[in-house]
């Protein structure tokens, strides 16, 4: 039932993780992490529904906000960091 959706979200997360590890440029990795974060929010909401615990929605809500702030932080440091050499290979 909902396990199918949860499984789909998990698959997406694994793929995003692979892209985060692979992605030739820095921004690929940031993109992958953004995707990962959004999918985590969804996963927590779905898991909450599966388990019947309704407190999980609070966690999902917090994480949605934190994900946004975190991505903005990463972008700020990627753009203005002292030692940023632009998008490059590790």
């Amino acid at each position: 039932m909902y396990f199918a959706v949860a499984a789909a979200i998990l698959v997406v997360m694994v793929l995003a993780l692979v892209r985060a590890l692979l992605g030739p440029t820095l921004f690929d990795r940031i993109l992958a992490i953004n995707t990962f974060g959004t999918k985590t929010v969804l996963l927590i909401a779905v898991l909450g529904l599966i388990a019947g615990r309704f407190d999980f929605i609070d966690i999902a809500l917090v994480y949605a906000l934190i994900n946004f702030i975190s991505i903005v932080a990463v972008l700020r440091f990627a753009e203005y960091s002292d030692n940023a050499e632009g998008p490059e290979n590790p």
Binding site: V5, V12, F27, L31, L42
Partner: protein, 125 residues
Amino acid sequence: MAGFLDILSWILLLVGGFLGITGAVGLFRFPDFFTRLHAASVTDTLCAGFIVLGLMLQAPDAMMVIKLLLILLILTYTSPTAAHALAKSALHGGLKPLLHEPEAIPEPEGEEAAPQTQGETPSAP
């Protein structure tokens, strides 16, 4: 009525899951960062929207529906913004989008293709 809601939420959840997987596959297969950004962020927002809508139909009480609605609003607000910020930072950081096919094609077609792209770009808006 309950059955109808169930079926509707099922459809929404499945469409959301499908969109998510499509986005992830796109994240994998597209050749360039900007194309990947486009695939991932568009499908991400839509997938989140559909799944949350599907969950809302399944929620047992009003408080949960309101919180899910808040999550939907937040994701709709911030997900495209994050994608926009990503694209802007990437451009600012010097990442160039892939504009035409790399010259790996054999000669005759290469000579035809190159003048065509060069002829097209000045007229692009």
